[in-house]
């Protein structure tokens, strides 16, 4: 079975940013993403998911490495200063390259 290399970008951030981020991602050319509600603890304290107002979300994007890097750079530039946000990149393999 042939596999194709892509990059997985995972972003964990404040739920309040969801709409802005989705617009941002689409303007950068991201075609698909998965968003889930999340909770956890980090440098900005514990983030609960039981109140949407204070909750976190996790966004996962699988795409071409160059695009993933562009998105990561943009998010870092725009949001790192003032928002609770982490992101990390992983190399992954996909079976249908045309989808990602």
């Amino acid at each position: 079975m042939e596999q194709f290399p892509r990059r997985l970008l995972t972003v964990v951030t404040e739920a309040v940013l969801e709409r802005d981020l989705v617009t941002e991602l689409e303007s950068l050319g991201v075609r698909g993403y998965t968003i889930t509600e999340a909770r956890g603890k980090g440098s900005r304290g514990r983030r609960q998911s039981d109140w949407a107002q204070e909750g976190n979300i996790r966004i996962e994007i699988v795409c071409e490495p160059a695009l993933a890097d562009r998105v990561a750079a943009r998010l870092r530039e725009r949001y790192y200063d003032h928002y609770a946000m982490i992101l990390f990149l992983q190399d992954v393999s996909v079976l249908r390259p045309d989808k990602f």
Binding site: E14, V16, L17, D20, E37, G45, Q48, S49, D50, W51, A52, Q53, E54, G55, D81, H82, Y83
Partner: protein
């Protein structure tokens, strides 16, 4: 023991359970559902009453209340900036939160007045709508300046299409169109169960307020002082305006309570995206862990007495 409305005890239970880290959490979907029912119920109730008395909406009164929404943030900003010595963005954020209103507090004063058989103007939900947005706009301008780089069209859209405004106005419109007979079929959920739904809402609010306590400890006395002094002062202003506008005893109590209340939904969300450098925990903690409990436990009975004193 003071004669507390039973729903208030649910709030106390939530705070105690949260502070003790009891194994108690309402899923986010329940909170969403409960607050949706409350907002619709408040709107519907107002709409049905409006359909019944068909007095229309007095323009001068609504203008006065709108003006109140624009003016309230100014003294709050001055207090936070020059006495609290907070950074400009934080002071503006507090000003926006305290100038705007809390629908939860409004629901509690509705229940309080209903229990005592005190009538108030049926158009009161409209006051909530008029008071919610202006203070947030003023707060953002205080943080950014008029020439600041603000995406106004995006911001206004978010504010006017926020949950509370859509559901309150939607409920109001449905109640108005359907009238008392038309809404009879939905009465069990929205009217009969109002107090029970409010109790669940307050339980959750207690848990959320308890979660703010660590932040409260960190920010200390100024926040507590601000969170009690500002509502007391604003209640005086609200009651004064209500008296001036010739509102009923219940109406003056409601307007005083609204002026005293602080937003913990619309203002935090708007500020988080429009003024991200403001510390979100500061304003939210003041509004949720200090002012909300103060208003529902101590404030509302006090504001009723204030209204009675003005009327007498």
């Amino acid at each position: 023991m003071p004669q507390l409305d039973p729903v208030i005890w649910f709030f106390v239970l939530g705070v105690l359970a949260g502070a003790a880290r009891a194994d108690l959490r309402l899923p986010a979907a329940i909170y969403e559902f409960v607050s949706t029912v409350l907002l619709l119920a408040i709107g519907l109730k107002g709409g049905v009453e409006l359909a019944r008395d068909s007095g229309g909406l007095p323009v001068a009164e609504l203008g006065g209340i709108l003006l109140l929404g624009f003016l309230l943030p100014l003294p709050a900003f001055a207090l936070a900036r020059f006495i609290g010595r907070l950074p400009r963005a934080d002071a503006a954020s507090l000003a926006a939160h305290y100038g705007s209103v809390s629908v939860g507090t409004f629901a509690v004063v509705m229940g309080y007045l209903a229990t005592r058989g005190i009538a108030f103007e049926s158009r009161a939900p409209v006051w909530v709508v008029m008071l919610e947005v202006p203070a947030i706009l003023v707060g953002i301008v205080l943080a950014r300046g008029l020439s600041g780089n603000i995406a106004w069209s995006h911001l206004l859209r978010e504010l006017f299409l926020g949950r509370s405004i859509v559901l309150l106005l939607g409920g109001l419109a449905i109640g108005w169109v359907a009238g008392p007979e038309g809404t009879a079929s939905i009465q069990p959920l929205f009217f009969d169960l109002f107090k029970g739904i409010l109790a669940l809402f307050l339980l959750e609010m207690g848990l959320i307020a308890a979660a703010q306590l660590p932040t409260l400890r960190r920010h200390g006395l100024f926040i507590v002082g601000f969170g009690v002094a500002v509502p007391l002062a604003f209640a005086l202003v609200g009651a004064g305006l209500g008296d001036l506008l010739g509102l009923s005893l219940g109406g003056v109590t409601v307007l005083a309570t609204l002026a005293a209340s602080a937003s913990y939904i619309a203002a935090p969300a708007a500020f988080r995206t429009a003024v991200p450098e403001a510390n979100p925990a500061l304003s939210l903690t003041a509004a949720l862990a200090v002012t909300f409990p103060f208003n529902i436990l101590v404030g509302i009975p006090l504001y009723e007495r204030l209204a009675a004193a003005l009327a007498g």
